[in-house]
Symmetry: C2
Subunit: 625 residues, 2 copies
């Protein structure tokens, strides 16, 4: 279907917004009046620019506080409207969004409102403009789509229809199924916005916290399905008031927005098929997700000074430096089937941060890398150009929003990865049954996100890799709140945790709270901790106060707590299931990167978030000391 | 009275919090358990550190979800409590905060809760610990102070009393007057927090948006008065959960906090005197505010390259370079009694920003500079050291939170300011009746604030200068939302507008949206705009679209709108009173600083905020071009 976006959803000047919308692949835009008023471009110039970019101007908005007014006010409103109609002719926009009246003194008289809407539509007719009437959730007397449809039906003017906005319908808890009863040709426009469920004033919720479909808690696939079932075939248009998007990079936000619509169309299509409904041919299907089976590798880049320490830590964790890349200064470190690439160059193209040690790439074993790449491409994640020797394996990769490269590795079973051929033959036979405690693989990775890319990143991993997002949790770091959200693939157990500074402010946007980490699974965290100590790299020391509190609030035996204290092991227990979790940390490498060793008791699905503020305080203290 | 602060109100590690609290002048702290748990310091070391800093540990907190539990749970809770009592002995803390139970399965049985509270207090007795029981506004069954007092009275244990928290009482709309009926010796602790009125879930409101007294909408003077009237003589303690403070500079926040308590004590004292109540002798009175009469000067610092353009703009605005400072490269520019200092050095000590042109100082004519300085000192704003020649005038100055120096100038009437003697005798006779349009003075200045100092800055100007804050307004800049708040002295008309990025993120924290400005009042904005054009520095050009919209939404005559368009004059009208406002802007100087020329119709009290997003977009486009 035609995809549009309201200019208010993006940051920047009107011209920047139009260019970004076009680049992201949108077919049209809604022009928000404030953007036009502040633009030095004349309406005809805006029309020409949009046209040259291949964008239609699908809507001009908003026309506020119309309907249910005195005759004197109506005269002023019609005069105001005529000026907008004339403007729209120059813009080449044929639909005007009219919002339900929010004035406290609006008159509660449906006959009057219908008559005034008729007069407005009649005034618009000579200009070739039609009126799309929308109920704001906080309208004084008109606040539901059902009411707007009653009024539109009553006014009965060919140039008058309703505009449906998913936020206004779903925020009120209205049943959207009734939309099916509205004739499709009387639905003049469809605005889509998702939102997290928040217990707050609906006006503030609407103005600050909307997000793109798939980033909030509303069922937009069902909503859109109802609208299409009614016969609507106009644009799917995003109108998202969001404080972060208003300040974020315009191009990134536009790509994020377009990805959300691709995902929504696909979801609607699948829903209709599941329900045995016919799927409109204009809905575009995405290639099926190709589930990742496991982490093939995680690549860490570090400056020369940090590389030596990284090697020591990897050794202490039980990894062996097994091979070297044939053409690049990249070392392969292995422990069983667990692989970490240590990159001493600086390939962090696309990374917007400083040069501290960082996770620069993750490899995922997948059955069909070509199909994974195809899906990613359909989700506005084009393939990364390979910087490689022609003789090397052609690995498919895309860039995540934070710049991390995501490689789709052909899954030929452990130990038989084709990409390993890019590395020298093993200097020593790879010690499959090495002595020492066993790591069971990469349990998860933790990636701190740039402030304005958190929702985008979650949608990216969810849609491109088919991961399921968990609830967000806010953690009190010593430098401010950090929001954390995990994305998990249930079948494979692949987990990625995303963190972000809640306010986009303060030191932790880059340092301790902003750390990245690789969490390694094991079957005996105490044995790993012991081995780390034996290698001169003991886990981060945890304060005695932590263990005193742990002993007070749990029924753990004193000897058990003492053993944890001696090894720097932290503990969590799921209050519902009683499932247990043990974990320990390394100090920060280069002020940015750390390793975690985790042992999951049966059924534990979390990440020990309760202990994260303690870890953050320790890493901060270490950094400052 | 004794002044305390909860460690959760500040950012950083426990040690940093203690040091900052002591430096700010607090007498004690509440230790928040999470801060202790994450600290490498043993409880005895914390006690020793606090003691060495002159801080008492007035409270240990929180002990959650106690009361109304099964006997089995009670046993676990008492075991947990005993561990905390033992810890408190080591800490030297004698009061434990116990919150009302928020567990969904808490038992609604007052007799049971009272009995369990009695048993807790009895268990605490051997440790010399007493229990302060607090109602959380979202407690499952116990959520009001009246209910806690009922339970405490019922339990009737000498070691059990109530803890009152202004947020929990006032957020629910409870009448605090009933506190007068609680015996003062059963009020074991008093926690103070203010908050802006917000229509949202009370738990989220409490956890994220509390602020220091005087920064929100609660009447804390009345609340505190009731508590003192009841006979309470313990600490006034700040417990403020605030997302910004959690990320802000620890020392600044502590100073801000201490200032708020000084102001609160003074307000309580005055309230009691007004009501004919006796004022407890432990309440400290502040020196009376010394109202500013007018801006004596505003000092602008600019690098050499920007100085030439600044001179051209000042000339175009009708200023004359009349004198030079005797010992510094500072020029005095005058227009009638309006004075701007142009500083070509870089005296921006204390400024945390970049080196773009900036307002570095404001001078205020005041009757008693010595008394103004004395009040500032009592409000944690110590005098700035003067960097001056011994022969120069001894001007009193303090630093505002953003580093702007605020000078208190002796008010000897216009044209007779002693500080002018620091400047060379006028080269030309100061042309009092110069030709050209007349400026009427400095209407206001606009200062963009560092993200974490907005509430602090408002409290600073309010308390130190005695200005009245207006409501905050959020404005949609092209780079994100900007929050704006004006502080006004009604009698003198002195106005300062503070702006801040709502999210502390994005370009506008430093650039266009982050601009500073000096607004000059006049009686004929068109004449000033014409003179600016004649001097080759016309006002910023405003888009035709703005005027088309203005014509559509107002009844202004077309010729009037055309005249505004021709001069780049923007327009606002107070919807209530019909009072009018006209203003125009200069381009940005050095990407940071601009001048505004304003003409106020009778009764107009605003700042043309409606037009600010247009101005921001224009300045941004200009910067990017």
């Amino acid at each position: 279907m035609r995809r549009s976006i309201a200019t208010v959803s993006l940051s920047g000047t009107l011209e920047e917004k139009l260019r970004a919308a076009a680049r992201a692949g949108f077919d049209g835009v809604e022009i928000f009046e404030n953007d036009l008023v502040a633009s030095p471009l004349a309406p005809r110039e805006i029309r020409a620019l949009a046209s040259s970019l291949g964008l239609g101007i699908d809507l001009y908005q908003p026309f506020r506080d119309f309907g249910g007014v005195t005759e004197e006010q109506l005269a002023a409103d019609l005069r105001r409207a005529e000026a907008k109609f004339a403007l729209m002719v120059e813009l080449g926009a044929d639909t005007l969004l009219v919002c339900s009246n929010t004035a406290p003194d609006a008159i509660d008289d449906d006959a009057l409102v219908a008559e005034q809407l008729y007069r407005l539509a009649e005034a618009a007719r000579p200009y070739g403009v039609r009126i799309a009437y929308e109920a704001l959730a906080w309208g004084t007397h008109v606040s539901t789509y059902g009411h707007t449809w009653d009024l539109v039906r009553r006014a009965d003017h060919p140039g008058l229809g309703v505009c449906l906005d998913s936020f206004h319908v779903l925020s009120r808890g209205d049943d959207p199924a009734g939309i099916r009863d509205v004739p499709g040709d009387k639905i003049f426009f469809l605005q889509l916005a998702d939102a997290p469920r928040m217990a707050m004033d609906v006006l503030q919720w609407s103005r600050h916290h909307r997000c793109f479909p798939g980033q909030g808690d509303f069922d937009l696939a069902a909503f859109t399905d109802h609208v299409l079932a009614a016969g609507y075939d106009g644009p799917l248009s995003l109108e998202v008031f969001n404080d972060v998007f208003r300040a974020a990079d315009t191009g990134r936000t536009a790509a994020d927005a377009h990805r959300s619509l691709a995902l929504l169309e696909d979801a609607v299509l699948r829903r209709r098929e599941e329900n045995g409904d016919g799927a409109p041919e204009q809905l575009v299907r995405l290639p099926d997700p190709v589930p990742p089976r496991r982490f093939a590798f995680v690549e860490v880049a570090a400056d020369t000074s940090a590389t030596a320490e990284a090697r020591a830590v990897l050794e202490a964790l039980g990894f062996t430096h097994t091979r070297d890349h044939r053409s690049k200064p990249v070392e392969l470190w292995e422990h069983g089937g667990t692989r970490i690439l240590l990159n001493a160059t600086d390939p962090r193209l696309g990374h917007t941060w400083d040069r501290a040690a960082a996770i620069t790439a993750v490899g995922l074993d997948t059955d069909r890398p070509d199909r994974a790449l195809e899906r990613a491409g359909a989700l506005s994640a084009p393939p990364l150009p390979r910087r490689r020797d022609p003789a090397e394996t052609d690995l498919h990769a895309v860039a995540a929003p934070d710049g991390t490269a995501v490689f789709f590795c052909p899954d030929a079973g452990p130990g038989d990865q084709a990409w390993l051929d890019d590395f020298s033959a093993p200097a020593v036979h790879h010690p499959r049954d090495e002595a020492g405690p066993r790591l069971t693989g990469i349990d998860h990775i933790g990636l701190h996100q740039p402030f304005d890319q958190f929702d985008e990143a979650a949608l990216f991993y969810r849609s491109v890799l088919g991961l399921s997002p968990s609830e967000s949790t806010d953690l009190a770091a010593p430098d401010g709140l950090v929001r954390s959200r995990a994305l998990v693939h249930r079948a494979s157990g692949l987990r990625i945790a995303l963190n972000v500074s809640v306010l986009g402010f303060g030191e932790h946007t880059r340092a301790a709270g902003g750390a990245q980490h690789i969490a390694l699974g094991c079957e005996d965290v105490f044995a790993v901790a012991e081995a780390m100590r034996a290698h001169g790299r003991p886990p981060l020391r945890v304060p005695d106060n932590y263990y005193a509190d742990l002993a007070a609030r749990t029924d753990l035996a004193p000897a058990t707590v003492e053993r944890m204290r001696a090894h720097g092991v932290l503990y969590d227990r799921d209050p519902g299931t009683g499932a247990e979790f043990w974990h320990c940390y390394t100090p920060l490498l280069d002020g940015r990167l750390f390793f975690e060793v985790v042992q999951r008791g049966a059924g534990y699905e979390g990440f020990g978030a309760r202990n994260t503020p303690v870890r953050m305080a320790l890493h901060r203290a270490e950094r400052d000391s």
